[in-house]
């Protein structure tokens, strides 16, 4: 029984934004990892979204009522090359003394994190508003 309107697309958005925040947290945590799991410096992960059609109900003539939600299309590595820093005493320094750092820019990650959390808050506000509307509808006739 769906009582709250618009809940399917909002819950898909909350799940997608949570994945994005998780990936951003992972990027920030690995901002200085010079040796990743494959031996190379950590490569920044990027999340890309795409819309998906979700069914919310059926009309009297049998046709479906659709709404547009969002899902994570893919989580890809960023292929840009990170910075080279001269540090010959570093355990991962190459033969010339340079260390390649991951391509994570902390400022960019913070801005992305703020955008993702604002989007998350906005979707929470949608849920609150839907609940208010449903409560008002239940008071009809009282």
């Amino acid at each position: 029984m769906n009582i709250l309107p618009g809940l399917e697309s909002t819950s898909s958005a909350l799940a997608a934004e949570k994945v994005r925040l998780d990936i951003i947290g992972q990027n920030i945590a690995n901002a200085h990892t010079t040796r990743g799991l494959d031996g190379k410096p950590y490569a920044r992960q990027m999340v890309s979204f795409e819309s998906k059609l979700m069914e919310v109900g059926v009309k009297e003539d049998g046709s479906k009522i659709m709404t547009i939600g969002v899902q994570v299309k893919s989580i890809e590595s960023d292929k840009t090359i990170g910075a080279l820093v001269y540090n010959p005493t570093h355990p991962d320094a190459d033969e010339k003394g340079y260390v390649r750092l991951p391509n994570v820019n902390l400022t960019h990650e913070m801005v992305d994190m703020i955008a993702a959390s604002r989007s998350y808050e906005a979707n929470l506000q949608v849920v609150r508003t839907a609940k208010q509307m449903a409560q008002q509808a239940l008071r009809i006739g009282k």
Binding site: M1, N2, I3, L4, P5, L7, V56, G57, V58, I65, A134, A137, L138, I140, G141
Partner: protein
Amino acid sequence: MIEANSNIAAQQAFSQSMLSQLKGKDALQPQELQGLPSSDSGESFGNMIGNLVKEVDDKGKVASAETNKLLLGETDNIHQSMIAMQESGLAFTMLVEVRNKLVQSYQELMRMPV
């Protein structure tokens, strides 16, 4: 005396003419009442009550169809279900009030001394 007599005669003549006018309009005898045409609203009272019962039934069906759709998850319009339920309750209340008034007026009629 003659004037008084003529006054009385005038009064009698006046009342005679009134009486004859009244006699012209005969009071309706009971068997003639049945020949009267019914009111021209086109619908008898029994039809109106029958229509009301049908309307109450229809509204109840609409309300239960909407609630059924909501329970099965086919829609998320709870406001339509609430409004349909209230409207069918209203129709039912109206039917009950009409019935109450009918019963009351029947009882009043039966209490009238013949």
